[in-house]
Structure formats: C-alpha cells, structure tokens
C-alpha cells in the first residue's frame, strides 16, 4: 500500500516536470510531433544550440522548488462555511439578560434605554406637532418665537402665552401628555371629563 502511494506520488511529480520543463499540456498522452525545419526562434545562434541542458533525474528536480504549498488536511464543513459566510453564520443565539419590562405598558425593552413602545407614542406626537407648526419653514420671524402647543378644547392663558406662538393641534390632548402651563379647572358639581 505504502509503496503504491510512493509510486503514485512519483508519477505525479513526473507529470509536473513534464508540464513545466518540457511544456506538454497533456502528460501521458501522445504528443503532437512537429516536423523539425531547423528554425528555432529562441535558439537562433549556434552558440546556444551547442549548450544543451544535461539530463536531470526527477529527484534532482525536486530541489528546484517546483512543489508549491498545498493543504495537508481536508478542512471540515464547519470550517469551510465559516470561511464562506463568517463566524456569525454558525453562532447560536445568545441569551439576552439586559431586557426588562416597562412598568407602564408591559413591553420589554433594554435596561439602559427608554421603553420602545412608550417612546413611539411620544415620537409620533412630536412629529404631529412638527408637521402642524410647519417646522421646516426657514422663516426668521416664525423661528424667533417660543412655541406653545394647544390641543382641541383648550383655552391658553393669555398671560403665560404672551409673545409666544400658539400652535393648535387638531385633536384632543393625549392622556399621557400632561400640561404644566394649562391647569384644568373642573366644573363644579358636574361630571368631570378628565383629560389630563
């Protein structure tokens, strides 16, 4: 068995020598024979014709560095996939221990951050106010006024809102958006329709 391997290896080396030194493309197959017309463009001068290369055994040719570095072992499927797609392809899911429950709405969120569900409400409301007040208008007059946001059915206090721009949002005030400036006076005896 071992001797068979050695002979196979020797045969392969011999083929390589054929390819690189002699130039045959298909070693082992009969080569096309070209008629020698006496004209050699690479060796035109008679001096170079005279110096023919001495016959080399293949053991000698091994020392010329013809063999390149090749993988010695077959790489596993996992390793090949990692090379192809990166290590994250094979990584298992990791357990997140930094998630907590929001005490207001019960959704999960990262411990360091605001609750995403509550924040989305605030974000949408802020965008609505931005759109209502036309915030992208590049008007120095408009921009140089402090803004007071007023919802439907609210009367802004003329003292505290003096000199400020009143932006009226066409909807009821959300329950979670308390107003500091506008304190609601409940009607006496009547049913309190509490908005704030």
């Amino acid at each position: 068995m071992f001797s068979l391997r050695i002979t196979n290896a020797v045969r392969r080396v011999q083929e390589l020598v054929d390819i690189f030194l002699i130039g045959g493309r298909y070693p082992g197959f009969p080569q096309l024979v070209v008629a020698d017309t006496g004209y050699h463009p690479s060796a035109s001068s008679p001096a170079t014709q005279a110096t023919t290369e001495p016959e080399q055994s293949f053991l000698e040719s091994l020392k010329d560095g013809l063999l390149w570095a090749v993988p010695k072992k077959r790489s596993s499927v996992e390793r090949r996939l990692k090379k192809q797609f990166g290590s994250s392809y094979m990584d298992p899911y990791k357990l997140r221990t930094d998630l907590i429950v929001c005490l207001h709405c019960g959704h999960y969120h990262e411990a360091h951050s605001l609750c995403g569900h509550c924040y989305q409400k605030v974000k949408a409301e802020t965008k609505l106010i931005h759109d209502t007040m036309d915030i992208t208008a590049r008007d120095a007059e408009l921009q140089s006024q402090e803004v007071v946001v007023v919802y439907e059915g609210e009367n802004p206090d003329p003292v505290t809102t003096h000199g400020k721009r009143i932006v009226e949002v066409p909807k009821k005030r959300p329950l979670w958006f308390n107003s500091v400036l506008l304190t609601k006076v409940l009607p006496k005896g009547g049913a309190a329709n509490d908005q704030s």
């Binding site: 802020t126 106010i129 008007d139």
Partner: protein, 199 residues
C-alpha cells in the same frame, strides 16, 4: 489620533473624555472635514427640531459643540463678532441664528447647564427585525414644548401588594393602641381608626 474631544475650558456641561473611534469619512484628504460637516448638520438639526435621534458616538461628540454654542451665545450676546462668526459656521440654516438669540438665550436663563439632555432609545426600532450594532441616543434641548420622553411618575399606591401592606400596617397600629389602652385604663376600647394610614 483625531478624536480626543478638547473644547474650551469654561464649558459647564460634562463632556466625556473618551476616545471616539470614528473615521474621517473617507475623503481623499483624510482631514476629517466630512465628519465636521456631519456634526454641523446635527447641531443645525438639533437647534431646529429641539429633539434629534442619532448614534451614541456622534451624540457624545456633538453635545459639547451644541453646549458651547449656547453658552457663548448667552455670555456674549448677538453683538460680539467672534460669537457671531461661530454661529455662522455652525448654523447651516441662517434663520436659526435668530432663534438662538431670541428663543434659546431667554429660555436657558432659567436653566442650569447642561442645556441638552440625552436619552438612550431602543437600538431596535419598530419594524426592524434585528438590533443595531450601535446604541441610539435621543438628544433634546431642555424646556421644549413637546411631550416628555421621561417616564412619568408611577403611582403604585393602588397595586395589590401595597394595599395589603397598608392594611397590615393599619392593623398593627390598631392592635398597639388597643393594648396600650388596656394597660392604662383596664378597659377595652372599640375599634378606632389610627391617624397614620397608607404607605
């Protein structure tokens, strides 16, 4: 290399002395001018919208510049030439220069520095399957008229555990009063509401 954030020594806001791993936005000259443009856009956007979402590193880098602008505007006013040059550089939209001196300077006279506030927002926004690699920050100017992002005060007085605890405490106080009355007078006292109630 680029990124030690050094600002004027008189800055009253806390600036993190951290090494920001940022790249200078692959410009051919590699001067960091592209990043400066990004910072100017962010400062302009913050002064217009008063509330802006961005990455953590940009927020930490930008906060010092926004604070410095507000502080210089409050200290020197609109008739100081170097301050106005600074404003002209940082405000890409020039109507905001009026806004700084007419809105923010009177407003922040009521506040103490820092005038900006940072909130971490979820790094997985709605409608996104995976978490982002960077932490996200919402930066806002104090005293803005928009709905607050701060979680509101949680009134947990009426939660079941607290009701039970309050009742247990009331019962304990009631027993104490009864025992004292028996010791002093030798007579039993009818059930009586204690003065201290609740948690």
């Amino acid at each position: 290399m680029y990124n030690k954030l050094t600002l004027a020594g008189g800055l009253r806001a806390r600036v993190r002395p951290m090494n920001l791993n940022v790249e200078p936005h692959n410009l051919p000259d590699q001067t960091g001018a592209g990043r400066l443009t990004v910072l100017r856009q962010l400062v302009t956007g913050l002064f217009r919208y008063e509330r802006l979402e961005m990455n953590e590193s940009k927020a930490f880098e930008m906060q010092g510049y926004a604070e410095l602008l507000l502080q210089e505007a409050m200290r020197y006013g609109p008739k100081h030439k170097p301050t106005m040059e600074l404003m002209d550089f940082w405000m890409l939209e020039k109507d905001l220069i009026h806004r700084v001196f007419k809105v923010y300077v009177p407003r922040f006279a009521r506040f103490e520095a820092p005038y900006t506030k940072l909130w971490y927002v979820p790094s997985r926004p709605e409608g996104r399957q995976s978490y982002m690699s960077h932490k996200r920050i919402l930066m806002e100017l104090k005293g803005n008229p928009y709905p607050p992002v701060e979680p509101r005060h949680l009134d947990n007085k009426s939660s079941l555990a607290n009701i039970l605890l309050a009742e247990a405490k009331r019962d304990y106080v009631r027993q104490k009063i009864r025992a004292q009355a028996e010791v002093h007078q030798g007579t039993s006292v009818s059930d009586e509401e204690p003065t201290s109630t609740g948690i």
